[in-house]
Every structure is written in C-alpha cells, then in structure tokens.
Amino acid sequence: MSTAIESGLYVFLLASFVGFEVIRRVPPLFHTPLMSLTNAVAGISLVGSLVVAGSDRGVVSTLLGTIAVTASTINVVGGFLITDRMLKMFRPRDAAPKGAGPGSAGPSAADWLRARFRRGAAAPASTTVTVPTREVAR
C-alpha cells in the first residue's frame, strides 16, 4: 500500500472520530445551523472542481468542472451566509439590557437586514405588541 493511501486512511479515521466527538456535543438547539455549516464545508468539493475546470483537459472536462464549481460555490457562499443569518437570530434571555447600551442607539445593519428578511417570511407585524429593540446575540 502506498504511503499516500495509507496516510489518507489514517486521516479519514482520525477525522471521523474527531467529528463524532465534537458533533456529539452540539446541542439540538443548533442542529439546523450545524447542518447548514457542514453544507458549506462540503463545498470543499470546490478543491476538486477547480482543477477539473481550469486545467484545460478538453471541452467536456471544462464543462463538467464549470458546473461543479458553480454548484460548490453556491454551497460555500450560500451555506456560510445562511448559517450566519441563522446564528444571529439565536439570543439568550435578557440579551438586551434595559438601559441603552453603547451600541443600541439606532438600528444596526443586522437589524436592518433582519427586517428585510422578515418581510419575505411573514406578514407585517401586528401593532398589538411593541417589541423593544433587541440586541443581536453575539
């Protein structure tokens, strides 16, 4: 067995164990962000796709490679952005102190973005409850 294969198998074995041990500790709270993060990380197939798309091996290779790079890039860009969007939403109780903190003077960029996201997701908020501006959990 060549050393490349052997060391590859070792890496696979150890990475799987590390993966199990680390991911076992992810609380159910974060199972969806975990999934979308691993999606983004799975965009690592870019590494293979880039070589196929860029090494000038003929039309078919370039075409397949280009599709693969597009698909992987969607995962990388989309996966990281959406995980970030999700993680920003999680906040603990009393994340926003009653007194105005230094950063809570006006709506932050994140608040603005969230307001934008919401418009697509749900009907306009009813006026019965006024929600105090909340700090985004960081």
Binding site: A15, I23, V26, P33, M35, S55, S72, P92, V129
Partner: protein, 463 residues
C-alpha cells in the same frame, strides 16, 4: 515554494474546519466557529488556485460569479420556514459537484487507473449521483412539488435493492478493468435512478432522518473524492460532514424508536389508517373551545409550556406564538417551549423558527430537559404537533408509534391543542390525548388562533 504553501493551506483548512465545528457546540462561540470555518475554506480555495495544474481561469471566474450570486440570493431570500428544502437542495449541489468531478477524473485518467483510485472514483460517483437525485426528490417532497405521502408498490424494496446491486456489480467490474468505459455511464445512471427510488417511499415526517442521511452521503462522496485526488483537506471536511449527518440521523431514529432500515424501507405513514379505521369507527366527543374561553384559562395559568410542531411551520405562526408568549409573561406566567427532536422537517427546525421569532434560546427546552416539568404545569399548549404528544406511544403496544419517546403533555393540568381538524398525524394513528377530559381543542389555523389568543388574552387581562 508552492510545494510548501499548498499542503500547508490544506492543513490549515482541515484544522480550521474542526475548530469551526467545535465553535458551534456553544451559543457563545458559534459565530466565531463559523468565521473559523470560513477562513478554512478561504485557505483551501487559495491553496487550490495557486496549483500549477490550473492554467485557464476564465471558466472558473464565470462559475464563481454565477455560483456566488445564486448562493447569496438564496441565503438572503429563503424564509426560515423553507430551510429544510434549502438544506436538501444544497446536499444536491454538493453531491452533483462530487459526481461530476469523479466523472471528469475517470475520463481524464482511464484506462490506467490503480485499483484504489478507481475504487475511490467509483464510490464518489455512486454516492454523488445517489445523493444528487435523492436530495432533489427530498427537495420536491419538502417543497410540496411532489406528494409528501410515501408512494409504494409491491416489490418496491426488491426493485430498489436490485438496482443498487447492479450498479455496485458494474462498479466492481470497472474497478477490476478500468478500460471498460461503457460501464461508467451505466453506474452513473443506475445510481441516479436508485437515488430517486430510495426517496419515493419515504414520507414527509421522516425527512429529518433522510436529510441527515443524505448529508452523510454527501460527506462520504467528498471523502472518496479526497482519496481519488489524494487531498487530505477533502478527506477531513468530508469526514466531518459524514459524521455530522450520520450522528444526526442516529439521533432522529432514536427519537422515533425506529431503526435506519425501518425509516428507509418501512414506508412508514402510508395509508396506515386501515388499522385505525377498522378499530375505532365511532365518533367520540372532544371538548372544543373558542379562543376567548382558552384565553380565560390562559389568563389564570401561572406556568405554560408551548409544544410546537410542523403545523406551526406550515402556518408560519412563530411570530404570533412569540407574541402570545410575551403577553403571558407580562401577565406573570412562566412560559417555556418544549421541542421534540423530530418536530418539523429537519433536525432543529423548530429552534430556528423560534429563534427567528426572537424567542430567547434559554426559554426553549429539549424533550429530556422538560418532560418532568409537565406535571407541575398549568397549561400545555400544543401548536401543530401530533404524534410526538400521543400517549399511545407509551400505553398501546399495538400502536405503530409504540415505544417512541414523547413529550409528556398529558401530565399537565390542562392541555390545549391548536389543530386544523381531527385528522390523524403522520403516523396515521388517532391521538388519545384529544379525547381526554383535560384537553381543549382549539380548531383553526395556528397563526389565526394565536392572533385570536393574543387579542382575547389582552382583552381579558385589561378587564
């Protein structure tokens, strides 16, 4: 120089991916973890781009631009309620990339491919195309383009397994003789067909397990790609992805007290109503209440546990439910949310929806954390959840869901169930809970009911 830079980039990428996943084990470090993973990806991409093999950047740039645009648009505009579909779709993209790279590598290198590399390529293509079409099917079911109920026919499992067996046999043949190029399309097509056939008999509520499993397959196809290209960063990332998916699907199966094979081949939740229809035919009375009556009860409640389910996601009621919780808290009640592991259509679905509605995460508890507290709770408010609250899972040995861990809502002093009608849940089983004396049924769309409850509760509190 490149001989050092490239491997070190990949090494850094692998390490940072692990750091990233470690970060997401805690709310405080989650976003830092995400940044670590992003940095890792940057290293991996830069490391690849300086590779001498890459001579033509035109198509790469085009693909980067198109892919980034699509990815960013999807990330910004997909509503949280559609997250399961999006996740399924991204499994499909990842698997497609793996399948296509495997295909290109095969045609580039054949006929002289070592047995090990050929095995890796075959596995990559098999897993890649199975996951690609399987994930597209899952997407279709979740997005309700395809019927969510399981589609079954006689001998389905035999046909499915035969398809897979032929694909695997062709794979073995190709590994022994890589010059048989005609075998390659056979493998790819059969794998794609198997992916479709595998998901057809699986129903909507089993999607949490299936999505996790597809996640794991997508990861394993990356691992296979890593072996084919001798790239350790690919192996590490794929192994992490694979173990995450595998672990999640184990958790999901355990939460339903079912085995993998039962989820994949059991065609659970099909027209299973035959048993229920034959056994219980008579109409039994239920106590139904208006939102005003429910609001009066809620006004006096000191402790409330809200149990959300898929119905909450369908009705997009998360914001209204949070308003209801706010009103209850202002009225002096303790309000918590109880989440069953398989509630919704993917792992953690309910948590994300509630987080979107600004419910603090320490108000949200998992089944194990909260089950003992139902006995000291005044009102358990079930919103769009069914099977996960069915006491038959504990008492009725003949029930298909017997043995499944459930949320113990029936121990609460009063149970309120918000539901559109008396239809049975996914498992096709009648829910005994609805006929108990302590249970109040509030019929209607979850969002409208929640709006009504907020309105009536505020009126009651003011009066």
């Amino acid at each position: 120089m490149n001989d050092y830079v490239v491997p070190l980039c990949y090494l850094a990428a692998g390490g940072l991916f692990i750091v990233g996943l470690k970060g997401i084990t805690q709310p405080k470090t989650a976003r830092r973890g995400l940044q670590a993973a992003e940095l890792g990806m940057l290293f991996a991409i830069v490391g690849t781009l300086v590779n001498k093999e890459i001579v033509d950047f035109r198509w790469i740039i085009l693909a980067f631009v198109v892919g980034s645009a699509i990815g960013a648009l999807m990330a910004v505009f997909v509503p949280m309620t559609a997250m399961p579909q999006r996740i399924a779709l991204s499994h499909a993209f990842g698997a497609l990339a793996a399948g296509l790279v495997g295909t290109a590598e095969y045609y580039h290198r054949q006929p002289e491919i070592g047995a090990f590399t050929m095995t890796a390529i075959t596995l990559e293509v098999l897993l890649g195309f199975v996951t690609f079409t399987g994930s597209l099917m899952a997407f279709g079911k979740l997005h309700e383009i395809l019927p969510g109920r399981p589609q079954v026919y006689r001998g389905q499992n035999v046909v499915n397994l035969a398809t897979f067996a032929v694909a695997a046999a062709a794979g073995v043949w190709l590994i022994t003789d890589p010059s048989k190029t005609f075998l390659f399309p056979v493998i790819a097509v059969l794998a794609a067909a198997f992916g479709v056939m595998l998901i057809i008999p699986i129903g909507g509520a089993d999607m949490p397990t299936v999505i996790s499993l597809l996640n794991s397959y997508a990861g394993l196809s990356s691992v296979a790609m890593g072996f084919a290209l001798d790239n350790k960063a690919l192996i590490i990332a794929g192994a992490l992805d694979g173990s995450a998916g595998f672990l999640l699907s184990v958790i999901m199966c355990r939460a339903m007290n079912r085995s993998f094979s039962n989820v994949l081949f059991g065609a659970f939740g099909q027209a299973d109503t035959s048993a229920a229809a034959a056994g219980v035919v008579e109409e039994r009375p239920v106590r139904s209440a208006s939102t005003e009556e429910a609001a009066m009860l809620l006004e006096t409640a000191r402790s409330v546990i809200i149990v959300p389910g898929y119905g909450l996601a369908v009705a997009q009621a998360q914001h209204r439910i949070r308003e209801l919780a706010d009103v209850l808290i202002r009225n002096g009640a303790e309000v918590r949310f109880a989440i069953h592991p398989v509630a919704g259509r993917m792992p953690g679905h309910m948590n994300v929806l509630l987080a979107e509605a600004d419910v603090p995460y320490d108000q949200i508890l998992d089944m194990d954390e909260i089950n003992a507290d139902f006995a000291q709770t005044d009102v358990a408010l079930v919103v769009g959840a069914n099977d996960v609250t069915n006491p038959a899972a504990k008492t009725n040995k003949d029930s298909p869901i017997y043995g499944m861990p459930i949320l113990d809502v029936e121990s609460a002093r009063t149970v309120m169930v918000v539901k559109r009608g008396m239809k049975a849940g996914f498992a096709g089983v009648e829910n005994e809970l609805y006929y108990q004396d302590k249970t109040l049924m509030i019929f209607g769309d979850a969002k409208k009911v929640a709006e009504g409850l907020v309105h009536d509760l505020e009126a009651t509190v003011r009066a």
